[in-house]
Amino acid sequence: MGRGLRKLARQVGAVAATAILGGLLTAALVRNSPGADSDERLLDPRLDAASIAAIRAEHTNFLHAGFWRSPSLNRPISDLIAARLPVTLRLIGIGLLAAWGAALLLAILSRNAAFAGIAGVASACTLCLPSAVLAILVFSLGGPVGVVIPLVLFPRIFETVRNLLEHAYTLPHILTARAKGVSTAGILLRHALPVCAPELLALAGVSAIMAFGAAIPVETLCDVPGLGQLAWKAATARDLPLLVTLTLLIAIATQVVNAAADWLTPSTGQAA
């Protein structure tokens, strides 16, 4: 019990340290990137010299609005995140479920050559259209925005799952099982999928991050008020407090998701 708690405390500490490091790196990136101190208001010809000096002085003190307030959106960061987090979680959650469901199903069915052909072409087609274009096409056809994320994720998951399963089916013990008359479902569930489990679980963790990456252009283009759109606005406005906060959140979420994937991975014995 004591060891377990110590291990948990170490994990939490490592997560926190990584997140803080990510925040610091982001802050350094924002402060040193071109345009960090520029402001569109400087181009307003109505402003006199005193107002322009005041705007420049604001940017010298980049925390003039307070660390917990977004200077570009002029609102508390906690309010922004609280309002947008459920929207993005819903979009990503549905996207991941749909993408994994479709990818697994089609990967399994790709044992049949015809299905393999159709699935391969579908995968190539969705892989070759930018998420921005998919979003606009879906929207213009009256489809729900939630369809876009599965379309973006599906080919990336499908290709890996299909390759892993194909390789697994060539392993000696599975060939033996087939020769002994084990059913297709049995081979899949008791032999093939467990062999692929470690990589599939890692992919699952990574796909959650990919889903958020896909959410950024989708939310921005379709004006879905989620965290992806917020991240986009923060990056283009060089909004340091908001970017650092988002980086902290994403770093913590990434590590938690990946740690969960590692924890669920079956043990492979002692370390080399």
């Binding site: 070759c128 990574v206 990946n258 080399a272």
Partner: protein, 266 residues
Amino acid sequence: MSLRARIAAVVLGLILMASLCADWIPGMSYAQQHRDATSAAPSLRYPLGTDDLGRDRLARLLSATRISLLLAAAAAVGALVLASVAGGVAGYCGGWLDRCIVRAIDLMLSIPWLLLLLAVRALLPLNASPVASLVLTYALLAALGWASPARVVRAGVRNFRNSEFVLQARAEGCTETRVLLRHVLPNLKPTLLAQFWTSVPVFILSEANLGFLGLSAGEPFPTWGSLLRELQSPLLLRPEAFAPAAAIAITLLCFKMVTPWGGSQV
């Protein structure tokens, strides 16, 4: 080589030849604006029509194929090499090295990459050649794009590190480096190939997304990504505007059919 693979090889050859020879075909220029023939429909003169500045779409597509294909493939290879090294070392060695590399991967996945791309783009000299700008963009995408595949590679390596063939190799006196490079990583071919085949279009699409922001190579230089911007306005869409997307899909499918390492059936 199967019939399908041969057909794919021929198609691929034709695409590559056409893209390499595009600059020498008389009357075909990716930059020339024919202002009296803007947004023209496909015809004998312009097989894929013209864009809204009167530029030959086919000429632009062929020029874009050359550069985007080369750079995207190179970036994918680069990212995969980095991913293999990082994921391989982390998964094989375990312990504190694994933990450090995993944290580095998670950190890479958390940093707002868009800001980095904007910053690097903005730092480029304004007179930098479009090719230099594009090479730098893809290099950056490769440097940022290794983290996701590294995670998958790591999981695969962990799976194999105590396998029987690995134990046998060690028993026969192979060094750990040799075991990793000659025995473990080759068994990850399916994973690595899948990552490669998805990385190439992902990098092209990342460049396209930058193009939507207006941050692709400077005018008039075409890339697959910048050509895909035409798809952004569905009300003004013409079927020929899908040509770049079709080109990417066909090229990738052909590559997959042709490669001897099989990737998978298509």
